[in-house]
Amino acid sequence: MKSIITNILEVEKREIDRMSSRGLYIIVVLILPVLSILFFSSLLKEGVPTKMPIAIVDLDNTVTSRKIARAIDVTPLSKVTEFLQSETEAMSELRTGNIYGFVVLPENLQTDILESHQPVISYYYQNGFLIAGGLMQNDLTLILNTLSTGINIQKREAMGQPENYIMTQVQPVQLSTHQLFNPTASYPAYITTIILPIMLQLFILLITVYCIGIEIKERTSHEWLHLSDKSIIIALTGKLLPYTVIFFSVMMFQNFMLYKVMQIPNHTSLSWIMLGSLMFVLAYQAIGVFCVGLLPMMRHSLNMAAFYGILALSLCGFSFPVEAMPPVFRYWASGFPVRHYMHIFQSQILAGFELKYSIPSYICLLIFLLLPVIIIQRLKSALIYQTFIENVHKT
């Protein structure tokens, strides 16, 4: 037992020496992950987009139309940056990207309202950008409906209806929307919380493949195995442990940024967050070992890890729900630890559901740890016989 521990420690010491000998390690393990945490927490810091530029095409130019324009301007979401003369002009501005939407107030708007001719107000918005488009649509529909209700009320007052009666009449059915588990409706809670683990998994996968693959490529694997008493388990444990520690710390820094600095709701204890983070790191290290064991030539295993890792962005289903994808991708999606981590985040951390709803996700994360078992013998023979080395002609 004692010798196992000393062996692991020796391999670990060797690995730390190797890490400090090349700048690449420190860049990929520490600098880039921390930079991306800072990038995402700073980019979306406002929570909800504000003051998006919008134009008004006022063809009426009356008190009423100007009142509507002002009402649109004062909403927090949009800011009227331009008053334009024609719809064509506004459409060109929209195409140029200077505005996210515009409202056309037609000629005779005021007269038509007064004479009960039911004028038509058209609004246009750039729906090519999902978040901006959705917000624009909500915002404009809401303001214009409020304005329309206001006119309705004024008319009824003119008809002599009592005030409290009017309210029940103009809006017989009300909608009260309760936002479950994300009361702020802020985007960082949707986006940053999932994007950061997706970024981190790329780094974990790549560096795991690299630190093992480089031993084969540079023919140092004998030395490595020798130090670990020819046990592949000891060799891998000793080698990967320093990375586990570093990535776990990075992930805890990330959690600190999310739940303490950005104030994203957190309904669970620190120890559960630590457990989830640790299992996330381990699961991806296991996948990294699997890649390099399957394809011991590093150029191929690195490609494989990269192609797999980058797909997590789509297949973990945080942007487009997995349930809405064609069935085959629903199974494929379970092959990404980040998806299970996302479930843990959503039900245990954000919503505070009982443990029984997130236990299956923890079990799935554990299953990934079995992956290296499949290829461990193949990896060992690759380390011993060094058969997967490309022949390079130096010139």
């Binding site: 195409r95 729906n127 950008f129 780094f203 990269a306 729900p321």
Partner: protein
């Protein structure tokens, strides 16, 4: 003076001779390297298809919701039927208790809850305001959007009908009642992506990003590999003949440009057509935008490639940038909400302006003039990165020449010794 001119003339002639050689040499390097081949052919060909299939349903349709009907009336049943009839929502659990609904929600069987109050029907009859409560899933933006769109539509319509009915009971004609209830009509015009489809939104950006990323990574990989293969770790071979930096940059770029110009026909022409993404842009517009984009990406890639001493480094350093670059393009977070720092960082990368310009052209039909800002920025990037590529390659050429001169003066034994230690 005349001599100088003559030298320049000779240099240009030599350059023109060696240019095709460098070009072909780069082709040979690319086509003999499986890792790079997969990266610049398999990825651009397969990933757009894969993404298109993943997002094939485009929108969230028939999201499962539970209805807690406390009213149990004809009115509430009609309301539920209307909810079910919206494209966004599907009532999968009807007339359950709130506890039951919440437990279904926790099991992810339903993605939202709608509660109809006990007083719903009597409220309508007695002209009292009633309130429908919805509980929306805030875990997914698209689920929240579907819930909001479906319920607010039905609530507005129901309210409107009740109002009109009441007004008619008060003695107004149907026409008068309609105008009173709705003094102004609205027309909602979603531009670019009318249906709000997810594939139509995300894939154009992904296409542009794939072009830039695979190219820059491939250039970096090849540069790293070259250095590994050269005995003294130089990027430019220690040839007897001096190669000018200018012809190296142009020759190499020629190879990448041809490959990516062909790939663009497939990625930006065929993929949008097969999967029905917006394709309002004409060929001329696309070329005006994509040509400077490919060129600036190549030159940026060449400039940065000199830092890589090993084959693997490029993938390790570049891969992660794909996700931040997607955010920097401005299709996720509105550009009007970018801080100055991120707006500046955004302008470093060709993909930002190319994605924005491509979406404008392709889904809104923007003209070259309306895309002038993006096109101009891409040309500025092309010029800048061409210069930096020439400068960095110039350094490499000089370094190789310097090294060759130093080694050539050594006795043969010393050269052998150095070669073995370097290897």
């Amino acid at each position: 003076m005349e001599n100088n001119n003559r030298n320049l003339f000779v240099q240009i002639r030599e350059g023109l001779y060696s240019l095709p050689r460098i070009w072909m040499r780069e082709f040979q390097l690319i086509f003999s390297d499986w890792g790079v081949m997969i990266l610049i052919f398999a990825v651009p060909i397969i990933y757009p298809m894969l993404y298109s299939f993943i997002y094939y349903p485009e929108v969230v349709r028939d999201m499962p919701v539970a209805v807690v009907d406390l009213s149990h009336s004809a009115d509430s049943r009609l309301f539920i039927r209307n909810i079910d009839a919206t494209p966004d929502l599907k009532v999968t659990a009807n007339s359950v208790s709130m506890e039951e609904a919440i437990s279904m929600f926790r099991n992810r069987q339903v993605r939202g809850i709608i509660q109809i109050p006990e007083t719903f029907s009597s409220g309508i009859a007695l002209h009292r305001q009633t309130t429908i409560s919805t509980y929306a899933d805030m875990e997914f933006f698209l689920y929240y959007k579907a819930m909001l769109a479906g319920t607010s539509f039905v609530v507005l319509e129901t309210g409107n009908q009740i109002q009109i009915k009441n007004l008619m009971n008060d003695g107004l004609t149907e026409m008068q009642a309609e105008v009173t209830a709705r003094p102004v009509k609205f027309v909602d015009n979603a531009m670019a992506n009318q249906a709000g489809g997810f594939a139509s939104y995300g894939i154009p950006a992904a296409l542009i990003l794939i072009i830039q990323q695979t190219m820059i990574i491939a250039i970096g990989i090849l540069a790293g590999t070259t250095r590994e293969r050269h005995v003294f770790g130089t990027l430019v071979p220690l040839d007897r003949k001096r190669m000018g930096a200018f012809r190296l940059v142009v020759g190499k770029s020629g190879a990448y440009f041809t490959i990516y110009a062909l790939l663009s026909v497939y990625m930006l022409g065929m993929i949008p057509e097969w999967f029905g993404y917006g394709q309002s842009a004409g060929l001329v517009e696309l070329i005006a935008l994509i040509a400077p984009f490919i060129l600036s990406s190549i030159f940026l890639g060449l400039t940065l490639s000199v830092i890589f001493k090993n084959r693997e480094s490029a993938m390790m350093i570049y891969l992660f940038t794909s996700i931040p670059l997607l955010f920097l393009s401005g299709i996720i977070w509105p550009l009007s909400n970018f801080s100055t720092i991120w707006s500046i960082v955004r302008d470093i990368f060709p993909s930002s302006n190319a994605i924005f310009g491509y979406i404008k052209m392709n889904s809104l039909g923007a003209s070259i003039f309306e895309t002038r800002k993006e096109i101009l920025t891409l040309w500025i990037q092309t010029g800048t990165y061409f210069l930096t590529a020439c400068i960095t390659y110039g350094f490499q050429v000089n370094f190789s020449e310097h090294l060759r001169g130093k080694i050539a003066s050594l006795p043969i034994k010393a050269i052998r010794k150095r070669m073995t230690t370097e290897m």
